[in-house]
């Protein structure tokens, strides 16, 4: 598909002969009254995005209110939600069994809406470490954990972690003993996966909030393990 306006790289200057400093505010700051103006040039793909949205709105297929609420919902999801589930599971063995059976239902118990796509948890233990990938695209439990990191969606991780997981984990600073089996889960079907990490030693008596703070997004993917800070 060749087209006059087709960019061959991410950012393309539209040749307005204009820069943001003429607005009288520092470069890099969004104009206060025009939240839709983003830093940087308006690319062809940004115009395509706006055009598709405008057509869908004009045809009544979506409403501005639905768009706004969906954007808010996107912003409301984060790895902290997954961390809460893990911390609760560490403290409550019966909850853990329910989490392993059905993440979405377990999340609902905590007032978390994990969305309609089923999510499964895979549990790390002393003899096995689990890590998640989608080699075919970028399937990820977004409706619970929020956006997937860029590296999860990129070639190096997707191609290498199924083939040389220990080398990839080592790049993340995670070295695993040979006695610990490394189990890679390739998300190919609709349902998504998150890792239920092993509770680290040295956390006896910790409450749920303190435990949850140990569980990062990378722990939920399996490229890190929760660690008690050494300070």
């Amino acid at each position: 598909m060749s087209h006059d306006h087709e960019p061959d790289h991410d950012h393309e200057h539209r040749g307005h002969g204009h820069d943001h400093e003429s607005h009288g505010h520092p470069p890099g700051q969004r104009h206060p009254f025009q939240p839709d103006l983003e830093d940087g040039p308006y690319t062809w793909h940004m115009a395509l995005t706006d055009a598709v949205a405008d057509l869908l709105l004009a045809k009544g297929l979506i409403t501005a209110d639905e768009l706004r609420r969906t954007l808010e919902d996107i912003d409301s999801k984060s790895p902290a939600l997954g961390a809460r589930l893990v911390a609760r599971a560490w403290l409550d063995p019966a909850f853990k069994e329910r989490l392993l059976a059905d993440v979405n239902a377990a999340a609902a118990e905590l007032g978390i809406d994990a969305g309609p796509i089923p999510i499964r948890a895979v549990e790390c233990g002393p003899g096995e470490h689990h890590v998640i990938v989608c080699t075919l695209c970028s399937c990820y439990p977004r409706l619970l954990l929020g956006a997937a990191p860029d590296w999860y969606k990129a070639r190096a991780y997707r191609s290498r972690v199924v083939r040389e997981p220990r080398a990839v984990l080592a790049e993340f600073g995670l070295e695993l003993e040979p006695e610990v089996a490394v189990i890679v889960h390739d998300s190919t079907a609709e349902l998504r996966f998150m890792v239920l990490p092993e509770r680290p030693a040295g956390t006896e008596g910790w409450d749920e909030e303190r435990l949850a703070a140990l569980v990062t997004r990378d722990c939920l993917i399996g490229v890190a393990r929760p660690r008690v800070p050494t300070t």
Partner: protein, 99 residues
Amino acid sequence: MTRPRFRPGQPVRVKALFPPGHCRTPFYTRGKRGRILDLVDVEPDPEERAYGRPGLPPLPVWRVVFAQHELWPDYRGPARDQVVVGIFEPWLEPLEDGG
């Protein structure tokens, strides 16, 4: 759904088919041997849905465990290292135990 075709622990092979078009059976599993872990879900056929068709009735999705040493002849890690992949039932064929 009719009686499930596979059972946990059963050896299976992924069919060595290589069509163009949308499919969710990763290339690196084609023709490889593994063992059924479980029936993880039942989902409409993505190969139909990708082209705007409903993909019904839905298909069983079996989690298959592949030993890394089965997948990659040059795998250098421990023998217990594995990859677990959800495979739609039509892509799997049973193997005799020990096959």
